[in-house]
Amino acid sequence: MPGMVQSIERAAAMLRLLASSPGRLGIVEIARSLDLAKGTAHGILRTLQHVGFVEQDDGGKYQLGAALLHLGTSYLDVNELRSRSINWADPLAARSGEAVRIGTILEGKVLVVHHVFRPDDTLQTLDVGALLPLHASALGKVLLAYDATTARAALQSLLEGYTRRTLTEPKDLARALLEVREAGWAMEIEELTIGEAGLAAPIRGYGGLVVGAIGISGPVERICDSKRRPHPKLVAHVREAARAVSRDLGATRR
């Protein structure tokens, strides 16, 4: 068994202390209760405050934060995700020349929460609210790669085939997800629609938690080179946009 991380133990103790206290607690009370130096307690409380688990009132006293109450439900509201990423989705569409979508997981599918048209001013329809298959889209593969529970469920269910290239074998999908985690981005070439391809990368929030995926999609001949490999420049654009959104959401650079 690897060694315990002391500061996490202390943080957990603080949360228990705040939860069991009828009123709010000051820094001195917390430090005394846990027999910690005031500076140590302050550092931990500031970190807990940063992730929303603890809140401070106007008088400087601490209580449990609203984020704790939502732990069981979705961590980031989808409309908030759109609002926070809109400024970086536009440049991605402009630079790549392709349509951009942002997705999150909803009941075993990819929910499209934001869509930017391909910048050629042709007639296109907004498909915010549409659902895409997790295993047959680049967005979905990213989301699966970083969500063990949903991935397990997906690997145990029947993987529907959309084209002859769709990954319908669990072992193929599992290998693809491993590759996504290694590369930090995902691709999908004619696995959902003949002639279409997509690239996607993870959007991360505090602590690196993946809260969504951003990606582009378009005709295979524009997304890939003649050897059916994605253009490195497009991959770079997608990853750069994902990093920019993540930075705004508070993820540390990696």
């Binding site: 989808v78 409309n79 970086w88 048209f117 001013d121």
Partner: protein
């Protein structure tokens, strides 16, 4: 070859932002700092101009750091600013005589009522193109001169300078007390009530009416020309554009042809229609204003419909009622129900702007029954923005004799799909969002880029405009008509709430 960029400062109501744009007009880097809102009394809203200036300097170093570039990679700097916010400062020390009075501030209420009774009032409105209202900066200057001890004397001696926020920033960026350039631009000047809307010069009759000494006024310049070079913050960078934020958005949306209109959805919302080189006078409660003027070219005018409270109603819902944690969650909450349940919110928090101009109106929530949930209230909050847009578009169609065929939208609220669909539904025209939600900053960058030949002409800018999203009307006409009637009845309930004293 090193990449070159244009940079813009968007000095807004709640924050100042510094954005770097590339040749495609796309964001490269954004840094932002909020500043404090001061509410010393009901109806008073103030900003600390020094805080805003300090923030601007920090943002300047921040943007260089974030983008890893040096000042010589910047071809020009453009400024877009919250309009009508008024600051007076000492020419020798650079210290403001007090807090800047914000555009939402209504302290000039009594003063404006008095002025409106003067026999010359009609001729004044005619000359400056604006209705006498607390909204504009002229009355605020007068208020400061009347109420701050000794100020009028200092102003008449020539020791005091007036500016809106672009004037304040340009003066400071170019050296402040040691040689700072004291200028404004035609769009900001057109919101003072002191400028002749035809000649684009300060007019003695207007200055006399408001009793404001001409010594304090900046020189009026076009929106796109090199004014000078920054000496601090952006060392040696050419300052090449200044526009009021809404005119900047009109420019950023490339509404260069008469008949093109945009609406920016922020704290308030502002619909501007390009009316070409002809000034159109409104008979339906809109404002005649300068759209933009490029260097020595003739000015392009616009009609403006200003709505005081749109995004700030969502903020109120978040901060004062606490029904949501973040502004975007209003959409999540609104989607928990299918309609407004018969409830309407008219946010006449400090009176109503266009097309009503009723400063005595105050907000109402009507149609409350025990059936109403917070979801219905969230719907009513979003719908208020839709209906207020509809009122302004109706006025614009009536004034211009044209029917709006498409509405170009921008601003933070365009991330709200439910709202954008509702606006398309109630206007019965397509609503289009360009591939650049930050059109205010982009407009300032475009003007600066034109003045410094980063972009060749307006056509080059037009080619940067792409449709990012579009919402098509899908509301049953009978429902639309009935809901609009309900809204209008709700609006009537706001009138005459504040009694004259």
């Amino acid at each position: 070859m090193t990449d070159r960029y244009v940079v813009s400062i968007d000095q807004g109501t709640t924050s100042t932002r510094c954005i770097l744009f590339d040749h495609r007009g796309q964001l490269v880097s954004v840094v932002q700092m909020e500043h404090q809102q001061h509410y010393p009394r009901p109806g008073w809203v103030e900003h600390d101009a020094m805080e805003i200036w300090r923030n601007t300097l920090r943002l300047a170093s921040g943007v260089f750091q974030q983008a890893r570039i040096t000042p010589d990679q910047i071809v020009g700097l453009g400024i877009a600013n919250q309009r009508e916010t008024t600051v007076l400062w000492d020419r020798r020390t650079g210290i403001p005589v007090g807090h800047a009075i914000n555009w939402q501030d209504t302290r000039t209420d009594d003063l404006v009522r008095q002025l409106a009774d003067a026999p010359a009032a009609k001729a004044i409105e005619q000359r400056c193109g604006l209705p006498l209202a607390t909204y504009f900066s002229g009355p605020r200057i007068r208020w400061m001169l009347d109420n701050l001890p000794g100020l009028r004397e200092r102003a008449e001696r020539g020791d005091v300078l007036f500016g809106t926020m672009e004037t304040w920033l340009i003066w400071n960026l170019t050296g402040g007390p040691s040689g700072g350039i004291h200028i404004t631009d035609v769009t900001n000047a057109s919101r003072t009530m002191l400028m002749d809307i035809h000649t684009l010069d300060w007019h003695p009759e207007l200055l006399a009416f408001f009793d404001i000494p001409s010594q304090i006024l900046p020189e009026i310049r076009s929106n796109a020309e090199v004014y000078g070079r920054a000496t601090i913050g952006f060392p040696s960078v050419r300052i090449a554009a200044a526009l009021g934020d809404q005119q900047a958005a009109l420019f950023g949306q490339t509404c260069f042809t008469p008949g093109e209109a945009k609406c920016t959805y922020g704290t308030g919302s502002f619909l501007l229609l390009n009316t070409g080189t002809e000034l159109v006078r409104s008979t339906h409660g809109l404002i005649s204003t300068v759209g933009y003027k490029i260097d020595n070219e003739p000015p392009v005018y616009s009609l403006e419909g200003s709505i005081a409270i749109t995004g700030s109603l969502v903020q109120w819902f978040r901060d004062q009622l606490g029904l949501i944690a973040t502004a975007p969650e209003i959409e999540t909450l609104a989607r928990t129900v299918d309609d407004n349940g018969g409830c309407y919110i008219v946010p006449a928090f400090s009176g109503l702007f266009a097309p009503h101009w009723r400063s005595e109106a105050r907000g109402v929530i009507v149609g409350l029954t025990s059936y109403i949930t917070k979801g219905h209230l969230a719907r009513a909050v979003l719908e208020a923005t839709g209906w207020q847009t509809r009122e302004v578009v109706d006025a614009m169609n009536a004034d211009s004799g044209l029917d709006l065929t498409t509405l170009k939208v921008d601003g933070g609220m365009t991330a709200d799909n439910l709202l954008m669909q509702f606006i398309a539904d109630v206007l019965d025209v397509p609503v289009v969002r360009p591939m650049a939600a930050e059109t205010v900053s982009l407009g300032a960058a475009y003007a600066a880029g034109l003045a410094t030949s980063y972009w060749s002409d307006l056509d080059a800018l037009r080619q940067n405009w792409h449709r990012a999203a579009q919402w098509l009307p899908a509301m049953n006409p009978a429902v639309r008509a009935e809901e609009y009637e309900n809204w209008q009845r709700a609006v009537e309930h706001t009138f005459n709430w504040i009694k004259p004293h």
